[in-house]
Amino acid sequence: MDATALDDPPLTRTQWWSLFGKGAFDAASFPAWIIMLSLFGVGSLARDVGHPLGAAVFSTLLVWAGPAQVIFYGGLAANVPLPTIALAVGLSSIRFLPMTMAFLPLLRGPTTTRFTELLAAHYISITVWTESLRRLPAMPRRQRVPYYFGFANSCIWLSALSTGVGYLLVGAVPGPLAAGLLAVTPIFFTISLTAGARIPADWIALALGFALEPIALVILGPGFDLMGVGLIGGTIAFLVGGAIERRRA
């Protein structure tokens, strides 16, 4: 286990920025496009409730969570009471707790400050998370922070741009392509999670998420279903996956 081993020498300023640039370039060469496509539609939702262009762009920079942004603007459009919208947004974003907790130890080194971690946590989205879990473990620890911030900044700023363009081009996308835009997120999540699965627990969790959600949606309702699927599916996957690995060993 490499844990906090720091055999690699400290980075010079030039090396830091070159890694930042590499991360930004890697994101812009594909993963960022996924989030750009999925947040394109948020612009039109913001426009529908009469909010200015700036607020639409800020919603991507600040909230940085497609489902939460859809609930926020959808709730306002349907005149849902504000505390109810806040609760629904909060429930939809619970995934960031286990995601961020699983991610930070990957980024953290002995010199990482609390502020750096809070900032890094803000950029966590499903795409950034799955791609980071796939890319960072192979990198020397000191190189991870600049690469991650380059990657994540590229994703968030390109997506903010896309939300703005979506705001201006509202209604210009024909129906079947709009369906395609909405499907980018679930299709990419599936593939990205598949690509990132390494140990048996990952594969079992992946399958159980699909299998349990239809049941959870009925039993737990649309507010707590995902929390139930995560805790039950994740725990089963952890226990069964661990047993499989012990048997192999």
């Binding site: 909010h51 600040l62 130890p105 599936t190 990205s192 994740g234």
Partner: protein, 116 residues
Amino acid sequence: MSDLLLPYVLLIVVGFLPTEIWRSLAVFLSRGLNEGSQLIVWIRAVATALLTGVVAKLMLAPTGELALVPYWGRGGAILIAFCAFFIFRRSVIGAVIAGEAMIIAAAYFARAQLSF
């Protein structure tokens, strides 16, 4: 309150804070956790199950134009993308394009059926 500021205040209080609280909480709860620890393996499994749950939910209870795509088109797109990922030697781009082709084709098919 000024009408100009209201959208931004709503965004921060009702949209940003309820989301950011989970990310910030994680910073404090993950103190001292090690990359290879069993707790992290469990937390990652929880996050993974939750995320595929999100995918299933988006496809089971779709919104907007996606709701007009028949269920076989939505389920088929995920399945085709998954298979394409391995057929195209683990190409993420190839898989996404294959899945998207299925969704858009199914959407055109559904629309053609509607117009009869």
